[in-house]
């Protein structure tokens, strides 16, 4: 009797081992995707901060590039305008603040471009691993800010 139970258990364990191998594949995939997404975003920030221009096509390219590695990401581009104003009651002194602007297609020197990437969807493999084994990775979430040079 116990022989049958042992056999069933054995088959289950073999299945679990197979799944774990898949888990390893998933982790490797995810890690590679993360680095690639960061590389895409740095490319974009460098491009914008060096040239000081941004077109709708570049934005679309960024969205597409960030979503082409597996994880579904929400990419947001924010423009912070640098505002240097006279300090009240202190003639000659200034203070600098940064404020969000809606228009992201026109940049001035000193503005900051911030790209936020948030993962909103699993890849099919990582969803499968999560459902079967409750093994998952921290979702992709990072921001990078660059300064416009000209």
């Amino acid at each position: 009797m116990s022989g049958v139970v042992n056999k069933i258990l054995g088959i289950l364990l073999v299945l679990a081992l197979l799944l774990l191998m898949l888990a390893n594949v998933m982790v490797a995939d995810q890690l590679q995707a993360r680095r690639s997404i960061v590389a895409e975003v740095t490319n974009f920030v460098d491009e914008v901060s060096d040239s000081g221009t941004l077109t709708e096509k570049q934005v679309e390219d960024l969205y597409l590039a960030c979503n082409s590695y597996g994880p579904v990401c929400n990419v947001t581009i924010t423009r912070y305008t640098r505002q240097v104003n006279p300090l009240p009651n202190h003639p000659g002194d200034t203070y600098t603040t940064y404020a969000v602007a809606n228009n992201i297609y026109n940049w001035n020197k000193g503005d900051l471009v911030k790209v936020s990437v948030d993962e909103v969807g699993y890849t099919s493999l990582s969803y499968f691993i999560y459902v079967t084994m409750k093994l998952s990775m921290r979702p992709v979430q990072f921001d990078l800010t660059g300064r416009i040079r000209q």
Binding site: L20, R34, V38, M137, R138, D143, L144, G146, R147
Partner: protein, 322 residues
């Protein structure tokens, strides 16, 4: 037979257990590496921005020859660096955020100027709190053949103190080569930063009763290498440490970066009055002139930087600048 099979089953269970432990460890390591990578990228951007800001605030009529007259404001660089770091990690730009950042995560911030460097370090106050305190300008000193020299990044002349006389001498006449100057300056900066960072680590370990010391050292390529894209200190620049960064990361991570920037030609800023208020905007953003149409603004003065315009009492004009 059955008992033997039971023993056999223990093998995959053992495998699975080991696999889970290793996998978790691996994921943690890689997540930490990833976070450190992102932080490094961001610190690079922030330090670059700080260096650019530093150079733009100075008088822009300068070119390479006039570096001696470039005076830098380290406070501006620090402020820009902090703003960038805060914005990147979704913090508001309030006094409290700045304080949190400068007292907890920036142990050392260094601004290398033309003929000396400024150092910001965490100092302990009497009531056991820390604050980021700047030094006055420390010179790049050098001693050779019994004479004392104050070097600068112009690689042209230096100040010499010998037998109680202070003179300005040519480097060539004194027999000091350019690479020697760069090596001295970079060496001094890296030694100072390494020493101060280790002191800071030791103080912190002592405070927290921890025996773990981070023996980090700073190596600045000393201007002697033939490799390109190595950012040695060759002009006014900014260097920053981030230590124990644990905002939005799973582990605390560290980063160090040297800024690279150079002086550039300037975009003119026009100051004008509109509705009785003094505003400024970049001159090329203002509407073009047309015959017979009254020009909407009355340009009074041109500036080279927005800071200059603001110092003269002109305000940021969202109408044309956005």
């Amino acid at each position: 037979m059955n008992r033997g099979f039971g023993f056999l089953l223990a093998v995959p269970i053992f495998f699975i257990a080991i696999f889970f432990i290793l996998e978790t460890n691996y994921i943690q390591q890689e997540t930490m590496n990833f976070e450190e990578y992102v932080l490094n990228q961001e610190v690079d951007y922030a330090v670059d921005a700080a260096a650019q800001e530093l150079l733009e605030v100075v008088d822009i009529g300068t070119d390479y020859q006039d570096w001696g007259r470039v005076s830098v404001d380290p406070e501006t660089a620090l402020n820009t660096f902090q703003s960038m770091m805060l914005l990147s990690y979704d913090f508001p730009l309030t006094e409290k955020s700045y304080e949190m950042l400068s007292t907890s995560y920036i142990p050392i911030f260094c601004v290398a100027a033309y003929d000396g460097y400024y150092l910001y370090e965490l100092q302990k106050t009497e009531d056991d709190t820390y604050y980021l305190q700047g030094t006055n300008k420390l010179p790049y000193g050098y001693e050779k053949n019994g004479a004392y020299y104050a070097l600068n990044l112009g690689l042209d002349n230096c100040r010499k103190l010998y037998n109680g006389r202070l003179t300005i001498e040519d480097l060539a006449k004194e027999g000091i080569s350019k690479s020697e100057v760069l090596m001295q300056i970079n060496g001094q900066l890296s030694d100072k930063l390494t020493y101060d960072f280790q002191e800071y680590q030791r103080a912190r370990a002592y405070n927290e009763n921890s025996f773990v010391l981070n023996r980090a050292a700073v190596y600045i390529p000393q201007g002697l290498t033939t490799m390109t894209n190595v950012s040695a200190v060759e002009g006014p620049t900014v260097m920053a440490f981030i230590d124990g960064w644990d905002l939005n990361t799973t582990h605390s991570v560290d980063a160090f970066s040297i800024g690279g920037a150079k002086l550039e030609p300037q975009r003119m800023v026009a100051g004008y009055t509109s509705g009785g208020v003094q505003y400024y905007a970049y001159a090329d953003l203002l509407p073009g002139y047309e015959e017979g149409v009254e020009y909407p603004v009355n340009i009074i003065k041109l500036f080279t930087t927005v800071t200059e315009a603001a110092q003269a009492g002109y305000h940021y004009d969202p109408k044309y600048m956005d």
